[in-house]
Symmetry: C2
Subunit: 263 residues, 2 copies
Amino acid sequence: MSANSSDNARAVAIEQLEQFGLSTYAARTFVALVGLGTGTAKDVSRVADVPRTRVYDAVDELRDHGLVDVQQSTPKEFWAISSETTGRKVEREWQHRAAVLTEALDEIEPIERRDEQRGVWTVSGRETVTDRVLEFCENAEDRIVYMTVEELLTKDVVDALEAATDRGVDIDLAGVSPEVQERIQEEVPGAELFESLWMWSDTPAGRLMMVDGETTLVSVLVDNENGQPTTPESETAIWGSGESNSLVVVLRAIFTWRLDDSN
Amino acid sequence: MSANSSDNARAVAIEQLEQFGLSTYAARTFVALVGLGTGTAKDVSRVADVPRTRVYDAVDELRDHGLVDVQQSTPKEFWAISSETTGRKVEREWQHRAAVLTEALDEIEPIERRDEQRGVWTVSGRETVTDRVLEFCENAEDRIVYMTVEELLTKDVVDALEAATDRGVDIDLAGVSPEVQERIQEEVPGAELFESLWMWSDTPAGRLMMVDGETTLVSVLVDNENGQPTTPESETAIWGSGESNSLVVVLRAIFTWRLDDSN
DNA sequence: TCTAGGTTAACCCAATTAATCACAAAACGA
DNA sequence: TCGTTTTGTGATTAATTGGGTTAACCTAGA
């Protein structure tokens, strides 16, 4: 099974290197060289499944990225940088690119983004929904109302809520089960707790959020109806923003009533 | 000229997004949406130069990456995440990928990399040469001898040298000009200084390095003979490793003689 | 000088992707 | 309600990229 696990690692590494922008030949060649430490075109061709005559192209590509050095002899020999160095190099490269991208986009972004929206936006995917939640948390200035099921109260969300309380934002939190209530109490001590609005437990409900009374988000957990076994359950959310946004108006009404009631 | 600078920013952003793995349509669509904040297929098509009928595909792609949300109305409206969020998203994504890559490569990398090499490896590009220098610094256990011209004594190198002295590595440093000598004295106080070996000033010499008496690197600065104006001057280095490596033997002889002499 | 292996580069084919087109459905104006 | 315009989806074509192959050209050693 050692070969199998190693083969698997190779496949993963090749995949990542291709995503990084290398051609498949270059990616395979590099992985082969990392395994060999050092080798000739012949060696690489044997273990990498790359036509021998194309190893040279691949190495040129890798040289451009500073991943491989060559020895000018016949036969030429190739040397790959260490895995640790590779990882650092890739990370640094993309840190840089992300910075460039952000700067460019900042220049394009209009000064004032429309905050008042008539309609409702849809988002799917747990990761993406969490992104929106975090973004709304960061932009909160006054008050966050947040309601969630256990499995969606992940660390990043808790951190964002804590950061908000530190900024002086009031937080009203609720979980649908006693366990969640307890965890929240512990992890976000600054938060005000309130009872769940209604019997939520037997619905596929996910989270429910209102920020500063003008941005709201509602999500549900859905078993992928396509029957794809890869995604056990996916999250879908809708959100809207603006004083008179229909979704906002409805949720604000409900929350206001309920919160005033319980206090 | 505001339009020009903005157009330029757009081009840069599109370039980066394509590198990130998006199709050109998706990249252009996203940039258009960032500029608009919100818009329909028609709007996007107009400012992004994407066929209207293809905007929908592009948006699907962007949705998969969590970069865009859509409003289910007719006409559909599209909303792009903020530039700041985009930058963070890209960076996080690649931090993760770099980690995955490193792990996979670690599994592949042979336990003991051959340290004894007969030949000499060539490296080109200032960035890449610096990478090697840094790597050798990090692996140093006993002693580093380093000689450099002013312009190549950048912060990252100084930091690496400092880190080495902190680990208890002896360092012998030399610059080719009095100014460099001075800077080194200041910034790496733990280093032992010695006089330059020979008249180096009027040669295109770059750096000269020996680590633990068994790894050496020599670089020169060359004016790109291809006459490419983009790279004012490029650095080319050769390096070798191993007790009996020819380059190592020669440099060790020179250094030993000179250092013993001056002490 | 000849041969075997190493290197370079030119070429072809397949797959992806950009771009166009055609059509159905929905909204809008009269 | 009907006709026109706009929107969304799918199919179809053109072009470019990149994997794969082949051939020719070197270099080293016998």
